[in-house]
């Protein structure tokens, strides 16, 4: 529970780097999902830079925890986080979405170190994550499985089939995190397909539900700790976030679900983020 202020500052710094890389790679590709990548930066940072047991130099280490990006279109956030963790060179990020690149539009486990399973078709990563957790359970292993879902993704029936399965089969080694940014492709979640009361839904499916500010590193670290320590029940964390977080014209703007910044503007925004970074120095 006691995370040092130094750790928090270090992770905050890293989130700035991650955001810069997300903005850069999507603007170079002139393609990719900016809004939903920027909203999940803190969650990924807390997992990869602190919470998970993993070894970027040995991606197939047997004892590693697993992370599945079920909302696969947030690949830019995952790639930036993986690169800054040391899975592959940061210099490779600008190849995102170009021919022959290891960094595909959506995560491809046959190409990218650190990607556990291919995702991109919404709803499917969650099932696969639970399958992994089931495997660890029946083989008596302690590896933990984390997965990140979009709130729009929760529209898929498969998500709820999986939620039911976990409860029925008493699978405890799974933590699902929902990037509750209140946006999906066509607009606001509550206008396209209303989800509320969301906490009650998950509780009814037998899950322990935690709600946190998804941009507070401290809150995320605390709740992840809790979810691991208990391991009594499967946990879902509803991380309240802002779509496009960190770039004012993108924040909460539904037009930026799959839109990118022009190069010049991107450079400007990256510079502004650098100033914030320097505040931590």
């Amino acid at each position: 529970m006691n995370h040092s202020p130094e750790l928090i500052v270090e992770l905050k710094r890293k989130t700035i780097k991650v955001r810069q890389e997300i903005i850069r790679m999507t603007s170079i590709a002139q393609s990719g999902h900016l809004g939903g990548s920027l909203s999940c930066v803190e969650v990924l940072a807390a997992l990869f830079f602190h919470q998970m047991r993993h070894d970027p130099h040995n991606p197939s280490w047997e004892e590693r925890d697993r992370f599945i990006l079920s909302k696969g279109h947030a690949a830019p956030a995952l790639y930036a986080t993986l690169a800054l963790s040391g899975y592959f060179p940061v210099e490779e990020l600008p190849t995102f979405r170009s021919v022959e690149s290891r960094l595909q539009g959506h995560p491809d486990s046959t190409k990218t170190p650190g990607v556990e399973i291919s995702t991109g078709s919404l709803g499917q990563g969650f099932s696969a994550a639970v399958g992994m957790a089931l495997g660890f359970k029946i083989s008596g292993r302690k590896n933990h499985v984390y997965t990140l879902l979009g709130d729009g993704e929760l529209n898929e029936g498969e998500v709820w089939e999986t939620a039911m399965f976990v409860n029925h089969h008493q699978i405890k080694g799974i933590t699902a995190i929902i990037d509750r940014n209140y946006g999906q492709n066509d607009g606001a979640t509550e206008e396209i397909m209303s989800l509320e009361p969301l906490t009650a839904k998950w509780m009814a499916f037998g899950w322990d539900v935690y709600e946190v500010n998804g941009h507070s590193i401290k809150e995320i670290l605390d709740v992840l700790d809790q979810s691991i320590q208990q391991r009594k029940k499967q946990v879902v964390i509803i991380a309240r976030t802002v779509k496009g977080k960190g770039v004012s014209i993108v924040e909460g703007n539904h037009n930026y679900h799959a839109k990118t910044l022009p190069r010049e503007l991107a450079d400007k925004v990256i510079g502004e983020l650098q100033e914030r970074f320097d505040e931590f120095e």
Binding site: A29, F96, G120, L122, D186
Partner: protein, 316 residues
């Protein structure tokens, strides 16, 4: 061939849907959180009371459309081809097609030509999946104007239809053809050496290839097989009789698509010229620009020209 005005088939679809909707009050449109990408947003803006967003839930959307069709509505269901034919396959097969319901599935972003989203979003098997279903009509228009005509025909037709559209902007190649008949191919150009049977985004590439070949004294016919099911078998037999070789071209796997349908047709025919298939060669695609991918996966007019040279040389 007029190259000045480029239009994507999905854009033509979005426009025409609004036009048809003005007269046809039974038209209802469904989207699965992709109204912007599929261009049904235009219909949604003009006729909000006849537009329903299912959220990211393609399977449910197909079922809802099936039910709507039983009370006299004509549902137009639109999402990316990968999700229409893939994610919701069982709903399309077992509810819509099995009951022969009057649902029109308009699938956009087909093929590797859809580009940078990459292989998870590139449907290279939807023609195969859809044409194998009994009762299903499968249409793949070549350009904007043909998309509009095909959409009208699909709505007039009573029964399930799968329409395959794409993301790239295309030159108009069917401006001189006034009618659209489901199951009746259009011979865009007569040939004596080779017949190129093609559909969708590859039609303009085939015409360009034929132009180049003609300058080399090779007469290539071009057949726009806009309907893959029911297939115009007569035009295929005619091509078999009148040319030495047949070449098929499609932005789809060479397994199960138009090329396969042509081969099936000729398998027991008396006259069976060699059939060479241009298409995606049993691999997943990848991210990249449309042009880069068309080159890498060998789906350009250059590839057609090369293939024709190769087969004709072999035959000599």
């Amino acid at each position: 061939m007029s190259l000045n005005k480029l239009i994507a088939t999905r854009d033509a679809f979005g426009e025409e849907l609004v036009e048809i909707g003005k007269k046809n009050k039974n038209l209802v449109v469904l989207s699965a959180d992709l109204a912007k990408s599929t261009r049904t947003i235009e219909f949604a803006t003009v006729f909000p009371e006849r537009f329903f967003n299912a959220g990211v839930a393609e399977q449910n959307m197909m079922g809802i459309a099936a039910g709507l069709s039983t009370s006299g509505f004509v549902p137009i269901v639109s999402t990316l081809a990968i999700f229409a034919a893939g994610r919701a396959y069982d709903q399309v097969r077992n509810t819509i097609a099995h009951s022969r319901l009057n649902v029109k599935i308009v699938a956009t972003h087909s093929g590797v030509s859809m580009g940078k989203d990459g292989s998870s979003h590139q449907s290279i098997e939807d023609i195969a999946l859809m044409r194998v279903i009994p009762h299903m009509v499968v249409i793949s228009p070549a350009d904007g104007p043909e998309t509009k005509k095909a959409l009208r025909s699909a709505i007039e037709y009573e029964g399930p239809v799968y329409m395959r559209l794409g993301r790239p902007e295309l030159p108009v190649v069917t401006q001189h053809i006034n009618s659209f008949n489901i199951g009746k191919a259009d011979v865009l150009q007569e040939g004596t050496d080779v017949s190129i049977i093609t559909c969708g985004i590859m039609v303009h590439q085939a015409l360009k290839a034929a132009e180049i070949l003609s300058s080399q004294n090779i007469r290539a016919g071009v057949i726009n097989m806009h309907t893959i099911k029911p297939l115009d078998v007569e035009v295929i037999h005619q091509a078999a009789r009148s040319t030495l070789v047949i070449l098929t071209a499609e932005d789809h796997s060479i397994i199960g698509g138009l090329g396969s349908a042509v081969l099936e047709t000729l398998s027991c025919a008396n006259i069976r010229p060699p059939v060479y298939r241009i298409g995606v060669r049993d691999v997943f695609g990848e991210s990249g620009s449309t042009d880069q991918l068309m080159k890498k996966y060998e789906l350009t007019w250059e590839n057609i020209v090369q293939a024709v040279h190769k087969i004709l040389n072999r035959n000599n």
